[in-house]
Symmetry: C2
Subunit: 112 residues, 2 copies
DNA sequence: GTCACGTGTAAGTTTCAACTGACACGTGAA
DNA sequence: TTCACGTGTCAGTTGAAACTTACACGTGAC
């Protein structure tokens, strides 16, 4: 499950991780899951900004969100970290690059 | 050597890796070392662009360069990949974030 | 009804990485 | 002396990511 990740997927994962806010978010959610506003307070960032970063993380599967209704009837959005494990080494990268798509060739479905 | 990497260093490494060109560069250099112009042809990218990416990679230590004079007296700049091995998991990230510096507090040497 | 707290998102700005094109310099070979 | 090939760097453009502000909506408590 961790080795059949394509180069494109690895690149997306790296892109998602290459941000201090998102690293902090992952660390915080690893301690305990939380809902958005709660997490925004804890990390001292604006809620829209956190929302954006959470979307980025969720899109690549590093985090999973779910809806939950609190006892007071509030519709909360809880997030928790996904359980990933990637290795970064020259060998691993060389392997991944083989399945990394190029965005310059006119043979694909790109506009030509 | 791989565990005492601070959060800041990890972030820099991730930032450097989060780019398709740089992944390709690492893969190519893992196969065999090469000098700049040579590599630019192989990867079909402009030399200034490659030069820039190589600098980025070298700055974080993912690649090391050295000067070498060819038989014809050309001063060539050879690069090879460094031997790195980093693990990416929620645990590892949580650990790294503890040593991740914040850039919003006025206690540092930042302009205030 | 209005406040406090939660959700989502759209619009606009700012910041920065990525990229191109051009210049400068050095060498050996024709 | 000019060409082919190597090096390095700078100035300027561009496009995407990051971020702020503001709006819209829903609920239970006062």
């Amino acid at each position: 499950m961790t080795d059949d990740r394509t180069g494109d997927q690895l690149l997306k994962m790296l892109t998602a991780l290459a941000n201090p806010h998102r690293l902090r978010i992952l660390a915080a959610l690893h301690e305990r899951q939380a809902y958005v506003s709660e997490l925004a307070r804890e990390l001292e960032m604006s809620r829209p900004l956190l929302h954006m970063h959470l979307q980025t993380l969720e899109k690549v599967g590093l985090v999973v969100g779910r809806h939950e209704v609190s006892a007071e009837g509030k519709a909360l959005r809880y997030f928790e970290v996904a359980d990933f494990d990637e290795q970064l080494s020259p060998e691993r990268i060389t392997e991944a690059v083989k399945t990394l798509s190029r965005h310059d060739e006119p043979d694909g479905k790109a506009k030509r």
